[in-house]
Symmetry: C2
Amino acid sequence: MNTRTSKTFEALFALEDIREVLRQALPTGPDAAEEAELKAGVARVRAILDDLEAGTGNVHQPKIAGILDVRSREEEYINIQPIQAAGRLTPEARKALIAYGDGYSTCDACRKPFRLDKIQKPPIAAFHEDLAKFVNMDVARVVPGARRGFQAVASSLVNKGDPVIVSGLSHYTEFLAVEGAGGIVREVPISKEHLVEPDRAAEKIEEVIRSDGKTPALMMIDHVDYQFANIHDIKGLTKVAHQYDIPFLCNGAYTVGVMPVDGKALGADFVVGSGHKSMASPAPSGVLATTDEWADIVFRTTAMTGDVTNRKFGIKEVEMLGCTLMGGTLMAMMASFPAVRERTARFGEEVKKSNAFIKGLLEIEGTEVLSEYPRKHTLSKVDTTGSFDKVAQVHKRRGFFLSDELKKRGIAGEFAGATRAWKLNTYGLSWEKINYLTQAFQEIAEKYEIPVNKGHIQN
Amino acid sequence: MNTRTSKTFEALFALEDIREVLRQALPTGPDAAEEAELKAGVARVRAILDDLEAGTGNVHQPKIAGILDVRSREEEYINIQPIQAAGRLTPEARKALIAYGDGYSTCDACRKPFRLDKIQKPPIAAFHEDLAKFVNMDVARVVPGARRGFQAVASSLVNKGDPVIVSGLSHYTEFLAVEGAGGIVREVPISKEHLVEPDRAAEKIEEVIRSDGKTPALMMIDHVDYQFANIHDIKGLTKVAHQYDIPFLCNGAYTVGVMPVDGKALGADFVVGSGHKSMASPAPSGVLATTDEWADIVFRTTAMTGDVTNRKFGIKEVEMLGCTLMGGTLMAMMASFPAVRERTARFGEEVKKSNAFIKGLLEIEGTEVLSEYPRKHTLSKVDTTGSFDKVAQVHKRRGFFLSDELKKRGIAGEFAGATRAWKLNTYGLSWEKINYLTQAFQEIAEKYEIPVNKGHIQN
């Protein structure tokens, strides 16, 4: 770890130790021993700051609880890991985690009717309304990950043996949600261009009705899929679904929080997003939004009564299991939200940067992009079989040579050892980082005598 | 907010701003503008430290993202909130949240077979083994809250219309988990002493077999219940359950992480714990542990195959929906774990402190404890109808007079406005805080001329 990063963590940790002294002190204030501890703590932070400023001092990698190394990937590297890019926390989210880390920190002012999404202070109720508006749906709930959104919908709508339409590009968590509900996945075949097309979806529905003897209970399609990150024609697909009265879930794990998503314009009955994938939020977090039509079904409240005590828990929602995301996870999601809302409007610029980088990569002879091109998203699947993999074939480190070279240049998040088809994500990188990244890949190519045809690729 | 607390947060936040400069810089290091920003940031922290040390300077309550107030309940108050006490983070957990807050921070070294509980670095796989040992069960998984543990078990074992034995003291999330699975709750009536007794459980099972025409699919009982925090005879209850071949889930939301829990000695088939309630962990977190006998059922892997692509996601567990707790939530749980393991051995001391406080409260004439007494736990239900409520009856602030008085003395977490039956938790408070707390309540009583009979109560 470099000195400044190390010193920044050391200072943060030393301040947490100071904070702990305050926590242990009586309301009357620190006693003499605690005062001395505070003084020593402040002196320690001051010394760390001197080193931080000068970039001097010993780097002793701080360990947490004696077992956990500090993670400094985001401080020390340009991180192109496919699923991490848009989940990276904003500084405000990190501050919220600091202030609200304690388990039930959101619940100080929980009053009747005792449900998370009704809490006014902090403004959790207002956030739920904002979230629904953000994806232009009527009602929203936070959930512990997009997968828990799929689960809630599948569990509400799918009965044993029911077919559910997914696609050949569906994420595994959709499979699991259907399986958990007792349903069976039926995939829409993807086109040669790796797209889920409305016509094929219609054919599939017809086929399922014939073979399974019933209309699918649900259709779940990824707005942008995890394999190629192609943008699929959700509007066309919801039209098809609705012709058969099939409710439609739009999996926005790669779209909600990075690009504008208008659930009503898309015609979706459910929009699911991922906090840790695309909303600059901690894991596990996500959002499930729906229309007034479906809210009463998916967010139905409990009907169970204790047979002896006659207890009822009227307002608690069965699929949400009551409250969902307490504490810092939710507060960090809320702290990132203003920035997240704002950044979706700038998605065009993100796509430009994505294309600039991919163009640079394509200039390396033998490299291909497997995702639709020009790119419409920042996650891309590339194929370097004709370029870097040729080096890997004869290098003693095999595919890891590329990881080694990237690491030397301060780049992380490639799939270590992979030099054929692999994915990367440029979301949120500055133009300076994009240029640096492009140059780094081209430099590595040149070092291993792979021709780089600058200015060759159009997009 | 007091000056020192405010300055501590200001310093932490200013350091996060410094960290952000490092994050935005190229791998080649900060440029001139960034260097200037770092320098200014360090100067800012230094100025804050001066104030922090001297306890001087303006307190301007820092706002997060312009919308969230900083929470300082743990720094400025003795917090007796019933569900918050044992979820309060350790300093190590707070450091883990700082270092691992980014969504997928746990996944840097995720390799085949791509499942959270198999990750070696950070040592997540080892933590799962430790967790299982901790509750003396064979296998454990982390889950987003105890409720998600109930859900996984109910979803695996309970079919439509199946009766499930709970108790008259069961938590609402158990009701919801059964309802979600399509089952029906059947409550064991509680005794006059507010205990769930094995004999009554046996009677209830017999009754259910007669009335519902089938043996209950599951029995779920709270080790310590949320209403009185009484300790129930789980060992006796599992024996009864097993006489009828009913699998038994022990809800350890108030025990796992605060007192020793030996799942095998209790005879439980499932032990569920809550991270944010009792393991000094962020929300939502928890643990679901089971025996080898049941692991294959509750942690069954997916059997679903894509009908077009033939895709299979073999090792992913259906009920877990693949991975469960990524990022800082899990890492903070791991960071607290050494302290949590250690503190369960000191539960006797916690109970002593709990009793010392309750004794002091009972010395206030007219006050009663509704939980079993002497206390065996730190969560207690007390009844102040005969003491503080008499004041509330004639006070212009009604029951809020007590909250006002407590707040003045730096005590928070009572149920605001409640002066009849209410709950509190002394978990983790030092003897100094216990004594301060006791004295504060007695002082308030004396101020309002409620007699305090010091030395009167035995325990």
